[in-house]
């Protein structure tokens, strides 16, 4: 397979960016992109045009019942039935809500990161053969910070923080007991803290989103506190 020049690649740029280049030409083009940052950037920019084009498609209401059919699919598999005697109510509810799936990063992230290639999302099929193999954890949602909420050595929830002046913090937590008022604070590496606000846990479970200034370099962790200031759970961002 002969090497493609920059000039040859630019002749095929639109087809490559839109993912419609036949396989043989695509393979040659991708081989060139691996060696040429300039062309890579060029294709990334064109791929954004492809994304914009798809954005023109009108939204359409799906058939009745679609929402419930889809949300039924988006549930984790039920845990294996426990051989032990029936658990206490709180624990039973815990089993029924097997939250906090471990990030399925490894294989899935590698596959999707390659499939999505680079640049605009539309570039996916254009360059899915593009090497080099990405580091899943490095490429996976690189800006998003996340950490386990832990109490007594046990994970009870998870915190996600999206950096930025208009960032946000999302958390889900299951403390297995109703909590009418919980306050959440962010801890910073310089020892200061930011009080985000309060929320409640009905039946012990809840999730919460707050918008706030999030600085990835100074954020150290998060804590959930009782109204009296006792720590219910804490999280440390690596």
């Amino acid at each position: 397979m002969s090497e493609m020049t920059c000039e040859q690649l630019r002749e095929l740029d639109a087809e490559l960016a839109l993912g419609i280049l036949p396989a043989r030409e695509r393979a040659r083009a991708v081989a060139h992109l691996d060696q040429c940052p300039g062309c890579r950037e060029h294709i990334e920019q064109l791929a954004l045009v492809g994304d914009d084009l798809l954005g023109l498609l009108p939204g359409t209401e799906p058939p009745v019942g679609f929402e419930s059919r889809v949300t039924a699919l988006l549930q984790p598999p039920a845990p294996d039935p426990a051989p032990a005697p029936a658990p206490a109510p709180a624990a039973r509810r815990w089993l029924l809500r097997p939250r906090l799936l471990r990030p399925r990063v490894a294989a899935a992230a590698a596959a999707l990161a390659v499939a999505c290639g680079f640049g605009g999302w539309a570039a996916g099929t254009a360059i899915q053969a593009s090497a080099p193999p990405p580091s899943p954890t490095a490429r996976a949602n690189a800006q998003l910070l996340q950490a386990a909420l832990v109490t007594g050595g046990r994970e009870v929830g998870r915190v996600f923080a999206h950096p930025g002046a208009r960032g946000w913090v999302y958390m889900s937590v299951d403390l297995e007991k109703p909590m009418p008022e919980i306050s959440c604070v962010l801890d910073h590496k310089d020892g200061t803290m930011t009080r985000l606000g309060t929320f409640s846990l009905q039946d012990g479970y809840g999730y919460w989103v707050a918008t706030t200034d999030v600085n990835a370099t100074t954020l150290a962790g998060a804590r959930l506190l009782t109204p009296e200031g006792s720590v219910l759970a804490s999280a440390h961002f690596a």
């Binding site: 419609i20 939204g59 359409t60 539309a122 996976a140």
Partner: protein, 189 residues
Amino acid sequence: MGLPLGRAPDEALLSGLATGDPEIAVAFVRRFQRTVFGVAIAVVGDAQLAEDIAQQTFERAWRHAQVYDSRRGSVRTWLTAIAHHLAIDAVRARRANPVAPEDLDALLDIVTQTPEQHAVAAETSAGVRAAVATLPREQARALVMAGIYGLTAQQIADMEHVPLGTAKTRIRTAMHKLRRTLGAEESLR
């Protein structure tokens, strides 16, 4: 105060999907289902197949939420791209002729409607829409066939009864015009 789920940022809902909470899944699907189904039905033209594709799109997003990278585009754009890839694959697997001429004309009219005609046009998409509308008709047709229906240059040449080189030039010229127009708009912001 926290935000109600209906007002939570898109990225927060996507992150929340991983927790397996049904309420978050409902909020996520409710927010994006019109977009996802709209892409699928536009490409495949069959409601049952479009629903299958839309379901697969949400399932993939749920399974692979960890690879979403906000630096590369919005959650909506990401979902749109997933739905589009699935729809193109489905059409390629099922049909020899990926698009009926009447469907192409109808879609072309839709994507070139001016903001005045399109009540819900967002500001960003209005610029793209206007740029597509200013393209010569044959270039706009080639662009829609390539960018939305996923047709190769050869397929476009066959459908339009023009040489392969002409089809390639139409696609490329249209893409570069759009890129220049949108780039100029961005530099003015």
